[in-house]
Structures are given as C-alpha cells and as structure tokens.
Symmetry: C2
Subunit: 402 residues, 2 copies
C-alpha cells in the first residue's frame, strides 16, 4: 500500500481526499467539502472540475446550502467503476464483482481446493477473471485477499497452517501481471480492515482493528489511517501471538498460539472430540469447519446447555485475543468478523466480560467492540476494498487507464 | 507526533528530508543529497540556500564529487542547537542537556522520588529547567519521556504499576506551557525508539522496535518511519500483553503480564525471595532495583551457577516478549535496552535460542536482535530525541523562534 509519501503531488492527495469524502458522505455541496477538508473554495472548484473531466464524479441535482441557498451537489460515480475481489482462504476460493461502494454484483464459489491441485485452481481463477474482464469493460482493478503472514516483497505467504501447499505459490508472480487491469494483493485481515473502514458506516475512527476469527485467526490494524504492515508484511499476526507460553503446540513452531484455541478449525476439532452434537450431527467429522461452527451456534440457540458452555469457553479465548489487541494496538473500534462472529450476542457479551476483568477502565471505556455486519463475508468484500482503496486514493491513475 | 499530513507544505517536508539526511550521513555534497533523496539539483540548491539562511546548516570545506571534481560540503550545525531531556521512571528523574546529534553535555540525577512528594519534585524540575534555559540561549526545546501507557490527548499516564501517584499528574498541563521553548512529551519506550533511530548508526531500517526492559517493560515501534501510537497513545504496551492467561496477577488488572516475569522489579523480588545473593548482599532488600539486577549480572559473571540459572530463566521471558513483538509488529531490528540489557551476551544468546524454537525461519532470518549501545541510558537520550526529532522534522519552525 503506498504511503502518503507516494503521492506524486499535493493535488493528487487533495483529489483523493475529495473522492474519499464523497465516498463516505454521499452527495455533498462544494461548500460542505471545502469546510470539511479545510481546503479553500477555489481549490475545491479546481479539484472538482478535474474529477468531473476524468469522469470520476458528477454534478447531481441540488442540495441545501448556507442561508437557505440551493447549491449543486457532487456525487461519486459509484456505478461507473467496478472491481473484482478474490478471496483465498485455505480450502475456499471465492470470486466476486463489486462496485466501489462495496455493493456486490456477483459471487462465485469455487469447488473446495485440495492441496495437491492448487496449480489447477490457479489456472481456473485466471480463466474466470479474464472472462469477467472481457464481459465488463468498467472493471478497473482486481483485489485479492490471502491468508497471512503474507510476505509483501516476495509475494508469498510464510506459513498457512493446515494447507501448506499455498506457501509455495508466489501470488505476485502468478497474478500481478496476468490481467489487463492492475492487481492488488493484501493479507486477508488487513483487507477486512479496509473493507470495514470503507464500507461500514458505523466505523468512524481512523484507528481500528478488524479481528478475523474464521478458519484461521487474523488481524488487520489501521493506526491513524495507515495499515500496520511490519518490515515484510508479517505484522499483526494475532493468531500466532501466544496466550500461554506452556500451551498447545502450533504448526507455526510457537506454542499456545491463539489460533489453537478459537479458530473454526480448533472449534471443529473440539466438536469431533466431544459428543456435544453427536445426536443431531453424527456426520460432524465430515462437515466443513464453517458448517460445524454454525451447527454449534444453532444448538446453543436451541437450548443445548453443553453447546452454550463450549461456546462461552471459546468466546473467552476470543476475548483474550481482544485483550492483547487493545494492549498491542489501542484501537478505538474492534470489529470481530468471519465465521465466529456469527455466534452473535453470546460471543459479544462474553468478550466484554473478559475485557472488564482484564483491561483498565480508562482504556476500556474508549474502546468499542462490534460484530461485523457487512452483507457478504468481509474477506471477499475486503479483496474488493483492496482494489477500491487504491482507486479512492489515486483516482486519476485509474481514470487515465479507462 | 505530527504525521506527514501535518507538514504545511511540500517544501517544509523536503527541508526536513535534507536535514535528516545530513544528520544521518554527516558532511555531504549537494549532488549526494540530490541523488539520495530523488530531488532535482535545482530543488536542493534552493532548499540548502534557505537552510543556510536559517542557520540550520553550513557550507564546510570540500568533498569528493563526481568525475574527481571537488564539491562544497554541507553540514548540519549540530553544535548550534541543544535540547533538554527529562526522564521520568517511577522513582527516578534525570535531566540532561544534549546537542541534536545526541551528544550528552550534562546530566543531573534527582534524589529518589517518594509517591507522597511528587508535587515538590515537579516544582524542582521546573526550577532546574528554567535555570538551564536562562544560562544557554541555544537550547531550543525540552523533551520528556514518561512511563506508559501515556494518554496523549489527556496528557496523563493511565497506569504506573508500583508508583500510582504519577497517574494523577497531567504532564501536559504541568509542562507544555511552562517554559519559553516548546516541550514535547513521549512515552518512554517510544522515545527510546526515536533515540535508536536518530542516534545509533547500526539502525538502518525504518521498521524497528525498541524493547525497554527496566523497572517496567515497554516497547516503542516505528512501522515504516511512523510510531505506532494507537487511538489514545496506549498502543505497544508489551509489558501488559499476557504471556499466560492463567499466570501471575498484575496490578493493571490483567494476568500473566510479561512485566510480572522479567522487569527489574520482578527480578529484584525473585532475588529477595531466594537466597542466591544472600552471602554477598545481605542488604538485597534495601538495594535499588537497578543495583540488585547489576549484582545478579556480576554474580553470574563471577561463576555463581545459581545466578546464571536465574538469569537464563529471566532471559527466556525476555525472549517470549521478543516472540510476541515479532508476531505483532514484524520489525526488521529489535533493540533491547535499559537495565536488563546490561546482562549482555547471556541475555542475547538465550533470546536467540527462544526465537529459533518459536519463530518460523523465514521471518527470523530477516529479524536482527541488538543490545542498545547508546552511551547513556536510552530513555534519557530518548527524551532528548523526542525534542531533536521535532527539530529535524520541522527545522524552519525552530529556526524562526531563535
């Protein structure tokens, strides 16, 4: 992700601020934008003329202005530009088309991937994306979300517990020049943080954490608008931060990794090892991790006391992760997403209980815990957000290409 | 700390880049600077003229140029500007004068602070600083380092284990307008990270972690040049990240906090509870934490096997902290500083052993662990760095004031 230093000029930076403002606030007058961004009316006139010329924004109707005067409204041409999002998540690959407001136009699930057939899967992904691009010239970019830790410079993932085959793939080599539009690759939880920040109206802070509790456990952190990446892109690996130095051994080499206690894979294993769902789901071992977790949530909702007890216990571990997130990154808002977020209230109340036990009130009172409500899975939306974010930050770059 | 967005203009940003380049590289030609920063020779000529006019840099002798031509050298007027650094560390307060290259001119230790007399201590600090400023008109700023978590907007510390009195002090209210020069306040470990980055020539990366293992355990992280602060300035609290969810209770409310296992306070307590140093130091209970730790290091060096065993055990905990730092922030360089760093080789080799056991080689091979070698204590140097950093980033702001 380019930093602010990457803007070629102040005017490009200002253009991106105007586009982001319209993205967040919808139809707005030039006076509103001027006041909100602290740019002079003359500068806004100039910037909006350029963006209209590029086809990125339009004038639309009138809005209420100062002293009851009516002013022309400006709006982002959301529907004009679309992006493709691709989500890689161990055995799952999804491909969707989104507009740059995050609205999903189509979604395709590939058949479950086997470790031995990854290269076939990659060929299939390329074929599908090329077809989509051929049929829709308004698609301006492809975004991909991959399970971490994603080594940015190498274009590879350092370790994927439970599907090692993916670590041999160079995503950058395979995809970055494979299509006639640019491709952006991001760690799944970081792309989720982008999606929450761009597409969820409840997210008002620029310092947030998206806490992905799915097949793996991941985290994306924005600290004052900047994603925390680390030297090689391997930062914010909350799933491999140990919560118990004498705990369960993890395939990453560490022991007591959070992922060993509350990922969907770990929950599924606990369900297989116990007989909690044996009566309703004798086939529990052959279910997908997601289906097994959903079966647990349903059993708890239906009043199965042992299911509720297990779910509370797992939720406490999700809470221990939140305690570490607060001490490590002090985000204003933490959004819990992916499979475990479907547990709903029981998860949220248990997490909040753990936080009250373990975080000083001074900090806790300024930290909000939310469950993700993005209509589709945040990781696929995040893949789209990774592409949309580039567009919102460097609008004229894309306009020139179309 | 202002972000890049705070620069009032591109030219101020470019001026700070030139000043930082000269700070890091010493005497350089205009052509060297032009090439290194990617700015045109014409721009460098203009920027250097302005900085010479402001008295921030000077022309000095000649340096080897291209095609054996001699070129005039530019140099930062290090000796012209000085800063005051103040270190607050529970019972210790130190006040030093430094030049902006980090060279220490004077250092004063206040008598140990008692919790009941903090307001007297504050009056005394103000009197000393005002005296220093009166006697040296070239002092341009005051930097202060305080033990974390420091709540930036409130100007207060949320919790200081073992000296709660400090949490009632608003550093911002007490000091920010107390002197005729600006005062900058920074969390101690973050100011240490600034000091390492500005003053230690071994630090070549812009993504580093300064790991303070002293009376408290703290961390300052720079991710691609930006300090990780969190929403309220309470991020990177490694000392309160739990390494054992069922571990020792900590005064912060959490359990199993790293600080409970390897801070100088924890080490001192283990020495009091055991009889390892009883023969040589029957007064161990009344020693300062620092002296007790130094006694342990000396005993280990002198061949006391039980001292060495305890030191190895404590060093493993320092290592568990490093494992968490790598998974949380993926820094290129980790610098271990403060009291425990004095343990030297035994600490470093034990930490490296823990990392080999618990971090994937792919990441470990690109992570360097160093012991701090700053001539004085990094936290007091860090206080100075906090002020010097502002000068290096916003040079013309200060030049205008002098």
């Amino acid at each position: 992700m380019p930093s602010e230093g990457s803007y070629q000029s102040l005017s490009e930076l200002h253009r991106s601020r105007v586009v982001e403002y319209l993205h967040r606030n919808g139809v707005s007058s030039r006076a509103d934008i001027s006041q909100a961004l602290g740019l002079t009316p003359a500068a806004i006139t100039k910037i909006s003329a350029k963006l209209i010329e590029l086809g990125i924004i339009s004038e639309t109707g009138t809005v209420e202005g100062k002293r009851n005067r009516r002013a022309l409204g400006l709006t982002l041409n959301n529907s004009k530009y679309r992006v493709i999002g691709v989500k890689f998540a161990r055995s799952l690959v999804q491909i969707g088309v989104f507009d740059i407001s995050g609205l999903q136009h189509s979604l395709l699930d590939l058949p479950p991937v086997k470790d031995a057939h990854i290269s076939d899967t990659i060929s299939e992904i390329k074929r599908i994306i090329r077809d989509l691009l051929r049929n829709d010239p308004n698609i301006i970019a492809v975004g991909m979300s991959v399970p971490g830790p994603y080594l940015r410079h190498d274009g590879r993932i350092a370790v994927v517990t439970s599907m090692p085959g993916w670590t041999d793939i160079s995503y950058a080599d395979e995809f970055e020049n494979a299509f006639p539009v640019p491709t952006f690759i991001e760690h799944d939880a970081r792309s989720g943080a982008l999606a929450e920040s761009l597409f969820d109206p409840r997210i008002t802070s620029d310092t947030i954490a998206y806490y992905l509790v799915g097949e793996g456990v991941g985290l994306g952190v924005m600290d004052h608008e900047q994603l925390v990446n680390g030297d090689r892109g391997a930062a914010t690996e909350i799933g491999h931060i140990s919560i118990d130095i004498n705990g369960r051994p993890c395939k990453c080499g560490n022991v007591g990794c959070l992922e060993c206690y509350c990922s969907a894979v770990a929950v599924h294993q606990e369900l297989i090892d116990s007989d909690i769902l044996a009566q309703d789901h004798p086939d529990i071992a052959s279910m997908t991790h997601r289906d097994a977790c959903n079966a647990l949530f349903a059993a708890s909702n239906a009043g199965n006391a042992r299911a509720t007890e297990l779910l509370r216990n797992i939720s406490r571990y999700v809470g221990y992760g939140c305690v570490n997130i607060i001490n490590a990154y002090n985000p204003r808002q933490i959004i819990i997403g992916d499979i475990m977020a479907q547990a709903g209230d029981i998860l949220l109340t248990t997490v909040q209980k753990v936080l009250r036990e373990r975080i000083v009130p001074e900090i806790l009172n300024s930290t909000e815990i939310l469950l993700s409500t993005l209509t589709s899975d945040p990781a696929i939306t995040g893949a789209a957000a990774t592409a949309a974010n580039q567009f919102l930050r460097y609008p004229s770059l894309f306009a020139r290409n179309t």
